[in-house]
């Protein structure tokens, strides 16, 4: 897989640059996943706000609910949840599509027509993922904070002033930036693993199914490991 990733980087730097294919994949990975990411974000924010409210009320610190939720979302929940949701929706589709192309000899056909399949099929998917994972993570942040605001202000009756004031106090651009950095790393991980699993598929429909399952499982575990590693390095023990 490391060789495959290296080859992908090398081909990404070579012309022709297929902007049309990248846009197509951005629409698939980004626009196509926006709904599920938005719904997940909203509910994650709502649930988190309710739980935080129960915990912080004991210290008469309900005003910190908004800030706590926003901080958790920005640094951890938004990048991790978004990456896991995209893996389930788009990563599995990428592995299946490329796997089917492999076992029906469409990838071989591309090679015989003097077009490198990594350049044509893999690079646009990886570039689109690198661009769209942070965008969707921001969507998750916004929808999650919106959900927390609704629960905190309208259901738990937390005054709007402290809710927003403490959010500004607890969360700054570095927290959001740290989450977006993770999103870029996760985008790279998911796109490389799922394209590789599809690209290397063999053995007909069963092989494609196995490749997809392995791609999704490996991506999910890699996301969690990378999240821990980045947090450990940036925050410390």
């Amino acid at each position: 897989m490391i060789l495959f990733a290296g080859e992908t980087v090398a081909w990404a730097l070579r012309p022709p640059f297929r902007a049309g294919l990248v846009l197509q994949q951005m629409a698939f990975v980004g626009v196509g996943s926006a709904f599920i990411v938005g719904v997940t974000g909203t509910f994650a924010g709502m649930v988190l706000a309710l739980q935080m409210n129960v915990a912080l009320r004991q210290f008469a610190a309900e005003g910190y609910v908004g800030g706590s939720v926003a901080f958790s979302l920005a640094r951890e929940l938004a990048p991790v949840f978004t990456a896991l949701m995209i893996t389930g929706r788009s990563g599995s589709a990428i592995a299946t599509e490329l796997g089917t192309m492999r076992v029906t000899e469409q990838i071989d056909a591309m090679e015989t027509m003097a077009v490198n399949p990594i350049h044509y099929l893999v690079v646009p998917r990886v570039v689109a993922s690198l661009l769209m994972f942070p965008v969707l993570t921001m969507l998750f942040n916004l929808m999650g904070y919106g959900g927390a605001f609704m629960m905190g202000v309208f259901v738990s009756r937390i005054p709007i002033g402290p809710f927003i004031f403490h959010t500004q106090e607890l969360v700054d651009q570095h927290d959001v930036g740290a989450g977006l950095f993770k999103a870029v790393v996760f985008g790279l991980i998911v796109s490389v693993i799922t394209t590789w699993r599809g690209y290397a598929a063999s053995g007909g429909a069963k092989g494609v199914g196995e490749g997809t399952t392995r791609g999704v499982v490996a991506s999910s575990i890699a996301i969690l490991l990378a999240d821990y590693a980045i947090t450990f390095v940036t925050v410390g023990a």
Partner: protein
């Protein structure tokens, strides 16, 4: 045009090719016959550089292509067109985009306008008796025979010197099989193309071949003109050919 020298290939303990050597002169149609799993497709994939041999080499138009990679291999492949067993059309693209693919995506097509590409696609579809009405259809909307024809049009669109056919008549009814045989003969007659055909269809093979080889147990059991192969005393060759000739 194509020269295969002492080619060996194994997958684990499965020794698929054991010292294959053959020569395909320019402008001839060369058919490799053999049973299922005899390594015919593996041999063809070596010829176009999709597989690398354990030993031996392949020369195309005087250049050794074995061991090439990257841009050099891409250039070596530019003389080829290939028709895959299952057609291998891109199912997310229309017929127009499929046939145009070698022109629009490979470097050799750079500089052609959309209109020129469309004209060339229509011209190649005419060679295989398909009209403009199929241009906007997707592979899933076509019959098996039509897909093979589109695949041949795609293989011909960049005016290759060599076309490789992998089991071109497998799974087709007798009328479509006859039609595909005609297409192969036609491509040679009208365009002067060198062809290599992989098949287990004895009738088709004897119809289109200038030269024939029978692959068995990793080596060529017989090789020569159709008449020479027909006269071969090799037991496997006799048994293989009798499956068809005894019906006649």
């Amino acid at each position: 045009m194509i020269e295969v020298r002492d080619l060996y290939k194994s997958f684990g303990d499965n020794h698929v090719l054991r010292g294959i050597s053959l020569t395909i002169p320019r402008g001839t149609t060369y058919v490799v016959l053999g049973g299922s799993g005899s390594g015919k497709t593996v041999l063809m994939k070596h010829v176009i550089g999709l597989l690398k041999p354990d030993r031996g080499e392949v020369m195309v138009a005087g250049k050794v292509i074995t061991g090439l990679s990257g841009r050099a291999l891409t250039e070596a492949r530019s003389v080829f067109g290939m028709v895959f067993q299952g057609a291998a059309l891109f199912d997310s693209m229309t017929v127009l985009d499929n046939v145009a693919f070698p022109l629009t995506e490979a470097r050799k097509g750079a500089g052609l306008s959309t209109d020129e590409v469309r004209k060339r696609v229509i011209a190649k579809l005419e060679v295989v008796d398909l009209g403009e009405e199929v241009l906007d259809q997707y592979p899933a909307q076509l019959s098996g025979g039509m897909r093979k024809r589109v695949a041949l049009a795609r293989a011909l669109v960049s005016d290759p010197q060599i076309v490789l056919y992998d089991e071109p008549t497998t799974g087709l009814d007798p009328i479509t099989t006859d039609y595909v045989d005609g297409m192969i003969l036609n491509a040679k007659r009208r365009l002067g193309i060198t062809s290599m055909v992989i098949s287990h269809d004895v009738a088709s093979a004897f119809k289109v071949a200038d030269r024939l080889a029978v692959l068995y147990d990793g080596h060529l059991a017989a090789e020569g003109t159709p008449a020479e192969v027909r006269a071969s005393k090799e037991p496997f060759v006799q048994r293989f050919l009798s499956t068809w000739f005894e019906k006649q």
